[in-house]
Symmetry: C2
Subunit: 375 residues, 2 copies
Amino acid sequence: MRKDRQKDRKGSRRGRLVNQLGETQLVETILSRFCGEGTRRVLVGPGDDAAVVKLDRGSPLILTTDVLVEGTHFSLDFSYPEAIGFKAVTANLSDVAAMGGQPFGIVVSLGIPRTIPVRAVNRIYAGISRALSLFGGELLGGDTVRSRAVTVCVSAVGELVGKTPFLRSGARPGDAICVTGTLGGSEMGLKLLKKYFKGKPRSRDSSLTSWSDRTAGYFREKLPASVRKNGHACISRHLLPRPRVTEAGVLSSYDLSAAIDISDGLLIDVARIAKASDVGVLLREEQVPVSRDCEAVARSLGVSAYDVALSSGEEYEILFAVAPAKVRQITRTLANRCGTGVTVLGEVVEKRRGAFVAGRRGRRKRLLERGFEHF
Amino acid sequence: MRKDRQKDRKGSRRGRLVNQLGETQLVETILSRFCGEGTRRVLVGPGDDAAVVKLDRGSPLILTTDVLVEGTHFSLDFSYPEAIGFKAVTANLSDVAAMGGQPFGIVVSLGIPRTIPVRAVNRIYAGISRALSLFGGELLGGDTVRSRAVTVCVSAVGELVGKTPFLRSGARPGDAICVTGTLGGSEMGLKLLKKYFKGKPRSRDSSLTSWSDRTAGYFREKLPASVRKNGHACISRHLLPRPRVTEAGVLSSYDLSAAIDISDGLLIDVARIAKASDVGVLLREEQVPVSRDCEAVARSLGVSAYDVALSSGEEYEILFAVAPAKVRQITRTLANRCGTGVTVLGEVVEKRRGAFVAGRRGRRKRLLERGFEHF
């Protein structure tokens, strides 16, 4: 009897676990409990792609952080060192871009196991350097520590280009919903990695060594000839995503109503804009700009390229809402200045009409604002 | 024979591992390979306590990052959730202070296991909030992800107060070497935790649950009565270190030659100033301001309080070099404005005279610039 009481007490003392609550709700709890309105300095606090802080003089500052953890965000079997450094940087630069900013620096906290080869560490930093030289920003500082899992935590700072940041919350009924570039490549790349590169269980040390030696060429060679070319393009898109920093600079001249970068998938990120802006959305599936590489691989694998494109995360395209009258000018300028396409996916509607995507075969799917649940 | 060749090739392919190279040399490799001179914007790049970046207008920006990883920087047996959040913040604020800055915001990337109780996450954030409300800065944003080990990565931004940052590299022969506050408490706290709180091997889940429920009171109660009061003060100093942010604000009015925060121990951090400034140093052990709590516990345990104070890391006191003529004024102002003591530990000398600490019994110890080797 006493034992039972103890057990009960232990059960209730244990309380709810993080995996029972889920990531979205956990983040909401933290936001509501620990993030107040902020001072007058904080123009945008937690809850958007990045924070925006007013300084006494000069442009507002944009600040963001993102961490990649082995086993959660990437697998040693599916990646190589440069790619991890590269992606950790570009995920952050994309957040700065999605607020309408230009990055000028990063700091890196790198967690690595004791038995990782030194050249792997150098190659992670080579990927970090490469991303900075392509998209802007300097390596300002960092911390290197021991950790069981390879962990790359990057924080980026940038400056706001226009007068006000692009928020998730400004979309208005009547706005066009647009996206830069094409979608689907990243998710298709991950599918191929899972299909063809799932390693047999090995010792940790031998996994780290293979990982340390692997390059982009390894993935290309091991793909079946039937999907090699397009498949490798998808894998590159997944492993080495390109943030739309230059495009964000151009978009800053236009009065966008709302913007977000596609990090968790089009449907989820559109739903986030809808929720933050308190509006409805109607997307047309046939408008979604599916990447050609994704389409070609989808045909080989016999899956729907549209389904892949609608849910593909880590694309880092910019999704935005803007008055329809401005779309033509934006499209022309982005094509001329960056060689980047813009597609109108649908429109912002009144909230009571809900958030839906109209499928190609008359299907109608409700959009749910629910991120990937990592827990 | 073929097998031997393969083995050899594997051996050489494996290359040097991080634990063979060591942390100091690893960081030096990274700095020399991936961090250039920087642009004109970067006033201080990697290698000091924090980076300093010039903005087009307004005060230069200070940026730093620090990560605490369970199993490397803390043990679940020796800590509790608020303390981890608190220390992750104060480690960063201390770096901002050591450059002569005042922090205004942080971003947090939190890695947590799936089976951690939600209340532990809330308590980590409560510790983060508490540190910010005591020492300045706002929680601007973050990322919460799944990770096997509890990992708290904080990046802080601040503004430079004076005209130029406090560097490690400006100490000149003739300068006095000074330190704020007292030393030894943090290391003695860790010694007590290791002596009295080393847990029996338990399941991961039960360790996480005990950790989630533990408070500061637990450590106090479990200490033997003979060391309870002073011992608990030492443990608090170790678990909840206080960065010298206000003191840094005052010190910014004086033309310090060099400064660093004591994060890896007095001897190591003095040696870092000596190396960066290309000078020698002569410290007098009997001048070291040993904390009273450390002294009292040292007597009980029969160890040398001086030895503990010389090597005690995570003290977050500010160690600085300054022209001797200014010491009296600095001492008076810090006492009046912050209630914080200043002690002269010795002097900066010509490089050829070396870096030594003169012991109380005629011992002479060479100072080595060698951080804690985490690998």
